[in-house]
Symmetry: D2
Subunit: 320 residues, 4 copies
Amino acid sequence: MHSVSRLFRAVWPSVTARLYSSTTSKDISGIFPPIPTPFNADETIAWDKLESNIKKWNEIPLRGYVVQGSTGEYTFMTPQERVEVVRRVKDFTGPGKMLIAGSGCESTRDTITMTREMSSAGAEAVLVVTPCYYKGRMTSSAFIQHYTRVADDSPVPVILYSVPSNTGIDLPPDAIIQLAKHPNIIGIKESGGDIARIGSLVHNTAKDGFQVLSGSASFLYPALSVGCVGGVCALGNVLGGPLCQLEQLVKEGKLNEAKLLQHRLIAVNAAVTTVYGIAGVKKAMEWFGFYGGPTRSPLQSLTESEEKDLRDTFVNSGFL
Amino acid sequence: MHSVSRLFRAVWPSVTARLYSSTTSKDISGIFPPIPTPFNADETIAWDKLESNIKKWNEIPLRGYVVQGSTGEYTFMTPQERVEVVRRVKDFTGPGKMLIAGSGCESTRDTITMTREMSSAGAEAVLVVTPCYYKGRMTSSAFIQHYTRVADDSPVPVILYSVPSNTGIDLPPDAIIQLAKHPNIIGIKESGGDIARIGSLVHNTAKDGFQVLSGSASFLYPALSVGCVGGVCALGNVLGGPLCQLEQLVKEGKLNEAKLLQHRLIAVNAAVTTVYGIAGVKKAMEWFGFYGGPTRSPLQSLTESEEKDLRDTFVNSGFL
Amino acid sequence: MHSVSRLFRAVWPSVTARLYSSTTSKDISGIFPPIPTPFNADETIAWDKLESNIKKWNEIPLRGYVVQGSTGEYTFMTPQERVEVVRRVKDFTGPGKMLIAGSGCESTRDTITMTREMSSAGAEAVLVVTPCYYKGRMTSSAFIQHYTRVADDSPVPVILYSVPSNTGIDLPPDAIIQLAKHPNIIGIKESGGDIARIGSLVHNTAKDGFQVLSGSASFLYPALSVGCVGGVCALGNVLGGPLCQLEQLVKEGKLNEAKLLQHRLIAVNAAVTTVYGIAGVKKAMEWFGFYGGPTRSPLQSLTESEEKDLRDTFVNSGFL
Amino acid sequence: MHSVSRLFRAVWPSVTARLYSSTTSKDISGIFPPIPTPFNADETIAWDKLESNIKKWNEIPLRGYVVQGSTGEYTFMTPQERVEVVRRVKDFTGPGKMLIAGSGCESTRDTITMTREMSSAGAEAVLVVTPCYYKGRMTSSAFIQHYTRVADDSPVPVILYSVPSNTGIDLPPDAIIQLAKHPNIIGIKESGGDIARIGSLVHNTAKDGFQVLSGSASFLYPALSVGCVGGVCALGNVLGGPLCQLEQLVKEGKLNEAKLLQHRLIAVNAAVTTVYGIAGVKKAMEWFGFYGGPTRSPLQSLTESEEKDLRDTFVNSGFL
């Protein structure tokens, strides 16, 4: 089956791509928090806290959840744990919310296996991070081969995921533009923050119905301005409401309000990403009624002074 | 005189800053091309071509000109040449257009001297690039001392200039926020392209009346969205009209048109900056009726295939 | 038991460290190839080829083998496969050859588990790569906690592994110097190639009996000059004999010969590391009587022209 | 004249290169301090201190002096000052010591002019730093054109100078190997510290009689091991004697002593280069009987705690 589909695309690539995009491409617009995995003090998964967190997020007009992404500490989980977390989240997810699961592994074969399992566990789409360990050989050609094989096999749509602050690799634009033509690759989470690159990707993939998601709240408004359809934002775990509000302000053309809200979000976003990372997300979540808890080692909890600094940032920005 | 002013600011810094900013800060909003220096085939300055180019730009609703910035090949000019170019441009500049001169040198003492000379030559403000050779020691403290001494002495307002693609240095945000309080430092040309950084700078310096200019056309619209007042864009030498139009579309809230125009500008902007640099700017200028001519060595002219690729980019984007 | 040992070290760290180092530290001097995992055309492990390769290497005066390191494509293997490869290599390893297994995972808990399993499978020491996904939070403190917990638990000695070209992280010198005092951390494979850093590490850990291994053949001689005790070199898979000869020449003080051999090795080493990576190692192995075979995807085989270039490099350096 | 010489080389490049190298190439082996420019408190040049420093260095078996290199704060000097410093140093230089002057400027035309003036002022060779401001366009081809034009015109031999920590650019190996064939380009000061690169450069240029100088004391011994002929080392201003001794130990084959001395030099070298830079060199010089004095702004003097840390480093390494 796959070889036929591949052949078909090889002959009339733009035709099939257009057909797919106009008819079947799943809409991923909106705000998605990449949810953290809650742990108990002994680093085992706190299933009850996962449930209570999801139920609380269900009340916010979020578009859905990204599960087992970078903020989910997926690299610290066994393959079995990764799938089990998705299965549980599926049970708790409110109606109308989309579930996207991170299924990327370093090898193509492991990614294919994990993608199938995530689909079986209830994921409606998968987010596939760039393999990154053998950086020197991860050429555009290698990425195109990898993602094509994964997307050819995947039962659900594939979303590309470029996050250079973790992987040290920026998925090359020529590979993205090529992959956007694949009928089962529907979008990208772009976390690099180069807004010209984002605008260029939107421009060059628009005809394929490809959807670009901002990978951070720190540039959500400008990203929407140049054509992103939403965002997967770690800060959405803490301030889901304000992020949905920012999206709404832009839609309504209330640009000055959007600008001022975006300004306030930048400092708190930096605090829970580049500065304090997942430990910062988890700590801040606690101030807003969620369960945060510890990270797995080697990630470390915040020191007292780091926690104070984080809190001051939220207070100074008017969110606490 | 300077020591009194310094003392005064040391005691009531915020007061003086606020006074200055609310009363005297020069408005630098709008689009400025950083004009190239035209050379003859033997690398001497083509004064007649400088005049004809300026007269042509005078007809476009540009806010003014940046003279002897990076695109002006200032590092290839003798100190005498740098000043003489500014003096000549002054003569040709149309009414209502502002003249900003690049006066940065590696040492503080040379920068002070050059700033005075640029002012005498007719510059209404100076753009001062970060010293960058001794990167390892260019701390925030060193930058604050450098720019404070320059601004204390300068007869005209000072605009900071951070351009990491050339200097390898990003002016640290804490230094910028501190310097924004100086009554004679009125803005920054920010060429790094990190839109979250730009939004954060606008946010943290707004109370000082500090003005942030986008340093590139590739992110002009998102930069305006987060609060920039204009741009100093190499592409403005070639496509001054469309850049002014983009600014206008944003002002009028025609956001979809702004987005589509921004998209078209990204590829051509990359072609005349990161890809082909000044030789690309000069070549493209020729297609729009300006004099381009050669660069000084070691910059090299475009090869035939590079020129073809550049032209294709302008054609594909619909500007030719 | 571990808590007592930890307490003891906390009180008299230097005493215990010195006792251990002078009495029990395993000698890891010499040349180790980090062996590739041979695959069949369908990407399953070619166990027969693993055996034949090992038997051929057994005839060279190599000090031993590093199994499931970066060249072993460990990130492409399931946990079960990683252990099984080590178990099989153990069976084939000739007398007197040391077996070191890569046991690093992103989380501390997985690394502890994998380390125990590698020990059970026959590893005499483990090589533990730096966790690297959450780069922004991998502070010295996080590394010290991670490696201390692993080494406290490990039944066999631990060797640190810093390989920035893959991980994007250089293990900080202060962390290394601190960890060198741990009685169960005996050395480091240093792949970064900064020879001043290597000299400094040797200097600052010598009193602890800590052993530094060059992580590349391209700087093996200078590394030995500043005090490294050997090397873990991908090129050792292809040219084990010449690498052992280089070590011998240095020991015998035949410095001009050492220099000339080192010179010849640099180009071929680059070809099988930074330029063509594991696919290059495997291809070159075939020219010297070993089984190479394919890599797992997304790594790709060499193109015809890449293969020709690789072969030319070996020919021009006089090894073919 | 130059066009004839160029033609000749175009026809029989290897022949002329070999002739030149075997007959006329100036020997630049040995240790050269890149001397700092001494300033008075008001940042004017302290000519008397320049004289007294040189006379003190004359007593050490240094090979000669590099004047107006990076440590000489050349980027802070006017063109007139650069030449005048060289002229004065010429007067004070002891018999048998070679004087090399830094003559690099950003443009080819300025570099040619400065090179002639440095030769007239008494320089026996010039050190020409890579132009670096327009990084994106400094291709191998641009460097080859630049250096060829400078060397064709220069009355004295040219030494290439690659110092990425200041310039952000590593002169590409293919350009170096090509330029090494030019009869008037005799060597390179290589400051990058990648010892495999250094070994490779020695290997690939040996047939041209090209000489590679280590650009730092932190890897002087390993650099000599792989074939460097000496070093231009900022630390040589402070510890000229020990550096000459290290060179001698290597020549005499006293490798263990060389290793131990190299180890002691690494920490103090880092302190006067990457950590504290020129202010560190100048401060340390004072402890060894030289005049140090202030730097020009924006470089700043050491704080009290920095000075204490610097001194501790020299004490702990046994040099104070």
